[in-house]
């Protein structure tokens, strides 16, 4: 005869720690999502079973707005997609319109566009590096990254009049010529930043805690990278050579030599290293061009009302996040019939579930940081 205590006491057979999966909301107001992105996590303890992004919190329907605007107006809307690559977004639309009009812009325009594009890329990677450190708990990096980005923003402010949404490109060229200080200050920045990337490495890259957070986490294979339509540093960290600047050069990028940063490991650390390497390559591109800005006009005249010939036009460029495609369908009127922006962030977020499953919640934050998400770019 068992006592009451014996009846309810656990024995080897009646212990049943049933693990239960449950949902946790990450975001839409979460510092690590860098904007209003909501992730629905299905977790079992600390282990992630499923990540489902819920998008649309900042969707402005830019594609629909484009359908009622003129081609000059569309350019300004693209600033608000990936605001860290605003110059490159503007360039993409301008290149598409120029392609449709069969308009050859002066060499001066091409070179200036490329220099500012690469400065934009460095500025974007500086910001990414700062918040990347912050996401894994190293608050100091934020201030170092922003210190150097500030110098670039000052250059932009002088030449373009704005620091973030620059609106410097127009179909046919540039809004106005570069500021007399532009060359001098860009050279100063290049000299300055060359001493700072090694500092970044000393501060974060070699840090043993950081390395352990990054190595072997969030692995993406090359085949999956292609299948998921990944692009930019995310894909190049998996050994997939996809740099639009190499494969489909635009502006003055066919005149410069640079190496495509490639890593084959496919983990978070590889994506991190690709971006650090890209900053060096961008510096090299700027150095090759900054002393050779050709003389000439800064724009060619276009009609006040631009009408594209009937047809379909596609142009891709490499933003700091990857491949941005602009697809314009024209029926020959002053407004486009349909505009589609193939944004790099949208394809890159779609593989988050694939690489985060099986990992821990803490690793998800670190993995997302290496995807370098900008939410308005995903939502458009």
């Amino acid at each position: 005869m068992k006592t009451e205590a014996e009846k309810i006491a656990p024995t080897a057979t009646n212990i049943n720690f049933k693990s239960e999966e449950y949902f946790v909301n990450m975001g839409p107001q979460h510092p690590a999502t860098h904007g209003v992105l909501r992730l629905l996590l299905t977790i079992d303890g600390e282990i992630i079973k499923k990540v489902e992004p819920d998008l649309g919190y900042i969707h402005r329907s830019i594609e629909k707005m484009c359908e009622r605007n003129s081609y000059q107006q569309i350019v300004h809307l693209t600033d608000r997609m990936d605001y860290l690559s605003s110059h490159i977004n503007n360039e993409a639309v301008c290149l598409t319109v120029e392609k449709a009009l069969q308009l050859e812009v002066p060499d001066r325009v091409k070179v200036i566009r490329t220099i500012i594009g690469e400065l934009t890329r460095i500025a974007s990677h500086c910001l990414w590096w700062g918040v990347m450190g912050m996401d894994v708990g190293a608050l100091t990096t934020y201030f170092y990254g922003f210190r150097d980005r500030e110098m670039i923003n000052d250059i932009f402010e002088e030449t373009c009049g704005a620091r973030l949404t620059m609106n410097y490109n127009i179909p046919g060229g540039l809004m106005w010529d570069i500021h007399p200080n532009f060359v001098k200050r860009t050279k100063e920045f290049v000299a300055h930043f060359k001493t700072k990337i090694p500092e970044y490495d000393r501060l974060l890259t070699g840090n043993i805690i950081f390395q352990k957070r990054m190595k072997g986490v969030g692995i993406l294979s090359k085949e999956d990278a292609i299948s998921f339509g990944a692009s930019g540093p995310v894909a190049r960290g998996s050994g997939y050579s996809c740099d639009v600047r190499k494969h489909h050069p635009y502006s003055a990028l066919d005149k410069v030599t640079f190496n495509e940063a490639l890593k084959t490991e496919g983990d978070s650390l590889a994506r991190y290293q690709v971006r650090i390497q890209e900053m060096w390559e961008s510096l090299s591109i700027i150095e090759q061009l900054i002393d050779n800005i050709p003389e000439g006009d800064y724009k060619v005249a276009t009609n006040t009302v631009i009408k594209l010939p009937k047809g379909e036009y596609y142009q891709k460029v490499e933003t700091a996040r990857g491949e941005l495609g602009v697809y314009i369908v024209s029926t020959g009127t002053k407004n486009p019939y349909r505009v589609k922006f193939r944004s790099p962030g949208f394809s890159n977020i779609s593989l988050l579930n694939h690489i985060a499953v099986g990992g821990k919640i803490g690793d998800l934050v670190a993995t997302m940081a290496t995807l370098d998400i900008v939410v308005p770019d995903i939502d458009r």
């Binding site: 292609i226 339509g229 495609g325 394809s347």
Partner: protein
């Protein structure tokens, strides 16, 4: 592969039944030792051999070779394009929903990372009430999100999609915003 070679190869996957019948008839006639007709058989180019009711090619108004395919053959064509060792279109870089006014459609931009050739595939339907195409998620994983985006804004449904629900819009949203006949008097500025 250049556009002509691509067109020839892809066209050969969709032979024109009438051409095949014609050539069989000609072959039977060969027994009457008519050598000139035998040469004519070889001259039948792939372009004529394509079944025009299944797909058609165009290079007009676009820098890419464009295929217009019937919805029921979309999936088999896409599977061939991805898996055939000569085409290997393994990179679907853009998937766009379209409202052509009367028809609804989807535009697929494809590139091969091996050969670097590019191709555009279009598929259209006149059914605006219940437009349905086959999903290509099983061929390119990126299609899962892009097709959900098209479902949001155009109301185009995709067969065999693993998770077809609104991605951007809220569940109670009415209408399909990127369609040309969408009306929202409060939030839309119409010029």
């Amino acid at each position: 592969m250049n556009n002509n070679e691509l067109q020839e190869l892809i066209g050969s996957w969709f032979p024109n039944p009438e051409v095949t019948i014609a050539s069989v008839v000609v072959e039977e006639n060969q027994e009457s030792s008519d050598l000139s007709t035998e040469k004519n058989v070889e001259k039948i180019t792939a372009k004529e051999g394509i079944n025009p009711s299944l797909l058609s090619f165009t290079e007009e108004d676009s820098e890419f070779l464009t295929i217009l395919v019937k919805p029921e053959h979309l999936h088999s064509l896409m599977k061939q394009l991805k898996n055939n060792p000569k085409t290997q279109f393994d990179y679907l870089y853009c998937l766009t929903g379209m409202d052509w006014g009367k028809e609804l459609g989807v535009v697929y931009h494809l590139e091969s990372t091996v050969y670097r050739h590019q191709l555009v595939v279009k598929v259209n339907t006149e059914d605006r009430e219940n437009p349905v195409f086959d999903s290509v998620c099983d061929i390119w994983k990126t299609a899962e999100f892009h097709e959900r985006e098209v479902f949001d804004f155009f109301g185009i449904k995709f067969n065999n999609h693993p998770n077809l629900k609104y991605l951007f819009l809220t569940e109670e949203w009415e209408g399909y915003p990127l369609r040309k006949d969408y009306v929202d008097e409060v939030n839309m500025v119409i010029k």
